[in-house]
Symmetry: C2
Subunit: 129 residues, 2 copies
């Protein structure tokens, strides 16, 4: 099934993905979650949302991030069509990374998560259905 009714407390529109019963790529939310999953992934995306960066610049921005994980994240995001790799000729060799337009569309998603994280600090209100 899928998370289609999200945002509609009582009533829910019909959606072909609305009956997913297992966490598979069939559910759009799971797809997005799969992209975002993995430690450091969102931090890398944040950096790239601020503009394209060279590998060394990313390393500099995220000092605690090892080569292996950074490479893994970038390779995975490239494979997913989120990030684009640009190997530039010359010396020293440099590789530039930038978000594809598909990747840039993740902006609103991260923004929504940001907003919830900020206001979520207060857990004062409660309600039941």
């Amino acid at each position: 099934m899928a998370h289609q009714t999200v945002g509609y407390p009582p009533g829910l529109p019909d959606d072909p993905h609305a009956h997913v019963e297992v966490p598979t790529p069939a559910c759009p939310v799971e797809i997005t979650l799969a992209v975002l999953q993995g430690r450091w992934t969102t931090l890398v995306l944040r950096e790239l949302l601020r503009g394209g960066r060279a590998y060394s610049e990313l390393r500099q921005a995220l000092p605690k991030l090892s080569d292996k994980v950074l490479s893994d994240r970038l390779a995975r995001l490239c494979a997913l069509g989120i990030v684009e790799r640009d190997r530039r000729a010359g010396w020293p060799p440099q590789v530039h990374y930038a978000l594809t337009t598909r990747g840039q569309r993740l902006g609103p998603v991260l923004q929504a998560m940001w907003d919830w994280g900020v206001q979520g600090a207060d857990r004062s209100t409660e309600s039941r259905s």
Copy 2:
């Protein structure tokens, strides 16, 4: 650091969380991601967004989900103030689960993820910064 600039391609507003360099609870996006992380979590939330459910109803809706994981998810979401537990007297013993208002605020987040997952199917467009 944090993902504050999310959604603002070139320019980025100043934010105290904007300089997080390690994935810690200091970043709102990481907070939200932590809440959503874990297999099955979003599926459980989807079910609850459609209205409060009894434990048995959740099990029925997610047949492939084991008791342990469902219990873990619910307990964790309760601890986070996302879900509220309502132990009802009588026989057979039944426990009702519902989202708190804080939990319901996750609706827009999942909606954004849903939207991206749906349109993300096409990776035709690309661009560089």
